[in-house]
Structures are given as structure tokens and as C-alpha cells.
């Protein structure tokens, strides 16, 4: 029974068909439900067209299910698919950068899930998506990958017999969202403001139909004007919108669990649609700590892991450990999850010349803005405001920028009103660019750019560092310790 071929779960057929039905729902409701008794030629034609299309689609999905299979081995996973042009995709387990498990609310009761295996390659064919498979199979795949990457592959049959609980006991949970976190998050993200436009648009729509305003004018104008009514309705509105915000935030960020074992980090999220993201600790390319102005005031931060594989379209290739972490907790989490990335709190400041350089740069935005004001004949005082903001921003930028090399760690800090910290390790940097303009040369400063693996690659830039630091940075980078292995010439 070794390496047997596995099919996707039969539920796949129904889910895919449900998707088709959903895509055609408007047409189906219109032609089959609403206009079922209309006997004009066009409607009859459309009805039969829909019937035939749906039947053919169902057959097509069944064939696709029959022709899609995968084989899991100790060191690679193979996927076979395609009806007319057959494709076989082989991915060595060792190259898999991260694993994603998605369980939508519909799938949950059936104990099935879908799994996406990502390699770091830019190539489109470099990932495998197993659309609907049983939870057991998904766990088996995850565990096999974990084993093969940690260098102690176990025979699959053995793994299969092993209790799942047994494998998961080693996980320690580092973070789960509490009620307090959710409430904090809902205020920080201003979710409660979402309700206001909805209510306003509802009001206008109702007004169109029943003309509330006219009635109000005649009937209850006095009541509306009374202070008590206004206070009560306003506070009701505030309470409702706060509750609404908290509920929305709960759906988004509730049940957020960050856990890890000795080699992997697991991020689980979602109340209805569950997502589990697994990454090997050593595959973390860099860490970003981001704080917007509001988050800074509230002492909250977002920690993002830069990884080589693509994670999610909406999340821009970063996987965020919960976006509303208390800052101390954030530092603690980084320390616990990725012990080889340490955060240094005191960094080198930019030299004074950097400030001069920054002030000397041409304020393009202000100039264009002023010209626009001039053309549109608006009061030119507004441009003064813009210039003050721009130069104030530059001054803050100068104050907020920091950099340091600490052993193997490189750390940048930047931001005007927000604060962003970027941490990476020497061996994770894949390219360095050191630039200086003529003016920077006079000030003995330079601009440093680093590139990290991600999808697409992650660029990080720090402006106006001392030239001396740039030089020592390159020397530091050149001494990167590399374990070299000769690859077999193919």
C-alpha cells in the first residue's frame, strides 16, 4: 500500500458544481424560476441551453475529479491532472516554503479542507493546490513535509498509523485573541465607523420611498427637536455601531492562534473560514514590525513575516502574526517564535548631515501643488501649509530613522508618523545596492538598499546613512558565512 494514488474528496464534485450554480445564479433564477411558464422562443431556448450547460458542466467536473490525483512520497509529492493535456507536477518536499490550509465554513462539517503547498520559485507551476481533501490527509501531508524537512523522514505508513494528537502535543500556543484584544482591535481599526455610511445610505433609500422628511416635518418635528430624543437616539447609534464594529472585528480576527513547535510556526485564523498557515522557522526571510500613528498612540503593533512563497493575494506575501499586538507582546512573540531574529532597541541615529541632505532635496510635491494652486487661482496660503507639513515630515523622518548591525542581524527603522522596523539576517539578504549622489558624496552619506527573497522580492531602503556604515555594511555582507555544497551536475 505504499505511495498509493490519492484522489480528492468526492465532495469536490458537489462544491465545484455549487460554484457553477452560484456563478449562473442570476440566469437560473431568471429563466428557470421566474420565467418558467413563458413560452416565447428565446426563453425556451435559454432554458434548454442552461439545462444542457449545467449537465455538461457536471459531467466535466466528474471527469476532472476522476483525472486528478496525487501521490505522497517520503521526499516528494506528485500531482497528476488535466483531461486532454495530462500534466504531472513533481515537487520535492524539501523545497516547500510554506503550507496553507483553508477550511471554509461549508467544508467544516464534512471534516475536509484544502491545502496549498508553496515553493519559493517565481514560476507559476511551482505550487500545488489540493482543493478538497480529508482533514486526515491534510495533516498527513503537513507532517510528512515537516519530517522530510527536518531531515528525519519517517515512512508514510508509520506516520499514518501515528496518532495525530501525538504529533501535535509538542506545539506551544503563544498567542490567542482575547476579548480585550478584539475590543482594542475594533477601536484601532475604526471598524465602528463602517456602520455610519451604511445607515446614512439606508436612510436616504428609505427616504426616497416613504419621504420620511416630509412626514417628520408635519408630525413629529417637535419630538425630534427635543433634546432627550436626540441624546437617546445618538447614544443608541453609538452603542449599536460599537457593537457592530466589535462583531465585525471578531469575525475577522477572532480565533486567531499563533503557535509553534521546535521547527515550525503555525498561524490559524478565521471564525467561519478557517485558515492555517504553516512555515518553517528557517524559511522566515525577515520580520517587519509596523505601527501606524493610531497604533503607536495605543501601543499596538503588527508583526509580519516575510516569506519566500506566495501566501495570500490580499495579504501581500506577508503573513501577519495578529495585526493588533500590544508592543511588548509583539517583541516577546518574535523572541519566542524566531529565536534567531532578535530585536535591538537602541539603534544608531543618522548623522546631522543627513538632515541637511533631506532638507536640500527638491520638494516636488509642494512645488507641483503650488503651481496647481496658481493655475486654479486658489489662495496661495495653502501651499505654505503643505511646505510646513513636508519639511516637518522630513524632520520627523530624520529623527525616526535608525539602523544597526548586531552580529548576524541587520535592523532598519523608518517612518514619519508611523514606525516601521525591519529585521533580517545576513544570509537572508540576496542583493545589496549602495548608492550616493554627488550631493550625498559631499555630505559623506549614502543610500542603502537590500533585497530579500519573497514573492515578489522584498526591497528595503534606508536613505542618508553615513558612507562609513555603507562600507562596513558591504564588508560585513562579504563575510557572510556560507555552507557550501556542490550540487550534482545534471
Amino acid at each position: 500500500m505504499r505511495h498509493r494514488k490519492q484522489r480528492l474528496h468526492p465532495l469536490y464534485i458537489f462544491l465545484e458544481f455549487a460554484t457553477t450554480l452560484r456563478n449562473f445564479s442570476v440566469a437560473i433564477i431568471y429563466f428557470i424560476v421566474l420565467k418558467f411558464n413563458v413560452d416565447s422562443g428565446f426563453y425556451i431556448f435559454m432554458r434548454y441551453f442552461l439545462y444542457i450547460y449545467l449537465i455538461l458542466n457536471f459531467i466535466y467536473i466528474i471527469i476532472r475529479w476522476l483525472t486528478t490525483s496525487y501521490i505522497l512520497n517520503e521526499d516528494y509529492i506528485q500531482m497528476n491532472f488535466g483531461i486532454i493535456s495530462r500534466q504531472r507536477r513533481n515537487i520535492p518536499l524539501i523545497q516547500i516554503q510554506n503550507i496553507q490550509q483553508q477550511t471554509t465554513a461549508v467544508l467544516r462539517p464534512f471534516n475536509v479542507t484544502s491545502v496549498i503547498l508553496e515553493t519559493g520559485s517565481v514560476n507559476k507551476n511551482a505550487s500545488i493546490k489540493l482543493n478538497v481533501i480529508s482533514k486526515q490527509q491534510a495533516d498527513l501531508i503537513t507532517n510528512t513535509i515537516g519530517r522530510s524537512q527536518s531531515g528525519t523522514p519517517i515512512e508514510i505508513n508509520k506516520l499514518e498509523r501515528m496518532d495525530n494528537e501525538n504529533l501535535q502535543t509538542k506545539r506551544t500556543v503563544h498567542f490567542t485573541t482575547t476579548k480585550k484584544d478584539i475590543i482594542k482591535a475594533s477601536f484601532t481599526s475604526l471598524q465602528f465607523l463602517v456602520l455610519i455610511p451604511i445607515l446614512v445610505s439606508m436612510y436616504f433609500r428609505v427616504n426616497e420611498l416613504y419621504n420620511i422628511e416630509a412626514q417628520v416635518d408635519h408630525w413629529i418635528a417637535n419630538l425630534l427637536m427635543s433634546w432627550i430624543f436626540i441624546i437617546i437616539s445618538a447614544s443608541l447609534l453609538v452603542i449599536v455601531s460599537i457593537i457592530f464594529g466589535i462583531v465585525m472585528t471578531y469575525f475577522k480576527y477572532g480565533k486567531f492562534i499563533v503557535s509553534s513547535d521546535s521547527k515550525h510556526i503555525f498561524i490559524q485564523k478565521g471564525v467561519f473560514n478557517e485558515k492555517v498557515f504553516t512555515i518553517k522557522k528557517h524559511h522566515v526571510q525577515a520580520i517587519k514590525i509596523e505601527q501606524s500613528l493610531i497604533k503607536r498612540l495605543l501601543g499596538i503593533a503588527e508583526v509580519k513575516l516575510v516569506t519566500a512563497g506566495e501566501i495570500d493575494k490580499e495579504e501581500n506575501t506577508f503573513s501577519s502574526l495578529y495585526p493588533y499586538l500590544p508592543i511588548q507582546k509583539a517583541y516577546l512573540l518574535i523572541q519566542e517564535l524566531t529565536p534567531n531574529f532578535t530585536v535591538v532597541h537602541t539603534m544608531e541615529r543618522l548623522p546631522k548631515t543627513a538632515l541637511w541632505m533631506n532638507l536640500l532635496r527638491i520638494p516636488w510635491f509642494g512645488i507641483i501643488f503650488t503651481i496647481l494652486l496658481f493655475i486654479l487661482n486658489i489662495d496661495l496660503w495653502w501651499s505654505a501649509v503643505i511646505f510646513i507639513l513636508a519639511y516637518g515630515g522630513r524632520f520627523l523622518q530624520y529623527l525616526n530613522t535608525g539602523y544597526i548591525i548586531n552580529g548576524e542581524i541587520l535592523q532598519f527603522k523608518s517612518g514619519t508618523f508611523s514606525k516601521n522596523v525591519f529585521i533580517t539576517r545576513r544570509e537572508k539578504i540576496i542583493e545589496v545596492r549602495l548608492k550616493r549622489s554627488w550631493l550625498q558624496k559631499q555630505f559623506k552619506i549614502a543610500t542603502l538598499k537590500t533585497v530579500n527573497r519573497s514573492k515578489p522580492v522584498h526591497h528595503e531602503m534606508i536613505e542618508d546613512i553615513p558612507w562609513k556604515f555603507g562600507e562596513s555594511f558591504i564588508k560585513w555582507f562579504e563575510k557572510r558565512p556560507v555552507k557550501i555544497v556542490k550540487s550534482n551536475s545534471k
Binding site: 544570509e427 540576496i430 542583493e431 549602495l434 548608492k435 554627488w438 522580492v457 556560507v482 557550501i484 555544497v485
Partner: protein, 165 residues
């Protein structure tokens, strides 16, 4: 400053100056032709009164930048381009007014290719493109033999793989 990066001693061929001059000349010729034809069309149809002023000022700008790009820029370009390739790193340096230093570990290089346009071919020159995981670097103005030799060398060095930790 130069001696800090003294290992970037390899220069690119002097013939690149001529090549760049030719290609810039062609580019600017096209710009002038376009501007001139717009001027003629405007005159013929009598579109706008202000258009000739704009075009004449564009002419002036193009003339100045053309003189700079054709006469001086290629010389500086060639004079300040350096590259160095060893077992571990590709190092590039170019520009004088705006200096740029690039360093890429050999292990992060994914492919090397040689490109040669018609003008480059006439002067027996080529450009090497080095594709890393992220961006693509190019070394211009190498002689054909140098280019082939270098790309072979890079391919050889890049074969050595780093252990993914």
C-alpha cells in the same frame, strides 16, 4: 574612496563609447524628426498658436541633453564602469555623479544570458544579463570573447549551491 573597492578593477571595452554614441544619435534623430513633423503639421493645419513655443523649447532641451548624451555621457559611462566576479560574489560599480555599488552572492544567481543588438554586433560587443532571484543585472560593453568567457564562469560558480538552512 576608490581604493576601498579596489577589487572592482575590470573595465568595460572602450568601443562601447562609439556604440553608445551611435545609439544615442539615432534616438535623438528620431526625437528631432517627431518634433519637426509636429511643428510642420501644426503649421499646415494652423492648430494652436502656443504649440510652436512649446516645441522650440523642447528643441532646446533636446539639443542640450543630446550634446551631453552624445559627446560626454558615453565617455563617463565607460570610464566609471567596473565589475568583478569571483567565486562568491558579483560586484558592479557604475556612475560618477550618482555612484552605485551592487553586490550579489553567487549562490543567489539563477541564470546568465548574453544579448547582442545590431550595433553591438557590428563592434563585436555584447551585454551580459545576470538574473538573480529578484532583479536582473546587466554588464554592458564586453567584447564577445570576454562575454562568453564571463557567462561561462558565472554559470560555473553559480552551480555551487548554498545549503538552505
Amino acid at each position: 574612496m576608490e581604493d576601498e573597492f579596489h577589487y572592482q578593477q575590470n573595465r568595460i571595452s572602450k568601443k562601447i563609447i562609439t556604440v553608445l554614441r551611435i545609439s544615442y544619435s539615432i534616438g535623438y534623430l528620431i526625437i528631432f524628426l517627431v518634433l519637426f513633423s509636429v511643428l510642420l503639421i501644426n503649421y499646415y493645419f494652423g492648430w494652436y498658436v502656443w504649440l510652436p513655443i512649446v516645441i522650440y523649447s523642447l528643441f532646446c532641451i533636446a539639443l542640450i541633453s543630446g550634446i551631453w548624451s552624445i559627446l560626454f555621457k558615453p565617455v563617463f559611462f565607460q570610464k566609471h564602469w567596473r565589475y568583478h566576479i569571483d567565486e562568491q560574489y558579483v560586484r558592479l560599480k557604475y556612475g560618477h555623479i550618482n555612484e552605485t555599488f551592487i553586490i550579489v552572492p553567487m549562490t543567489k544567481i539563477q541564470f546568465v544570458s548574453i544579448a547582442q543588438g545590431p550595433i553591438l554586433r557590428k563592434y563585436k560587443l555584447c551585454t551580459i544579463n545576470i538574473g538573480t532571484m529578484g532583479s536582473s543585472l546587466s554588464i554592458p560593453g564586453l567584447t564577445k570573447e570576454e562575454g562568453v568567457e564571463l557567462s561561462k564562469q558565472i554559470a560555473q560558480f553559480a552551480k555551487i549551491k548554498e545549503v538552505e538552512q
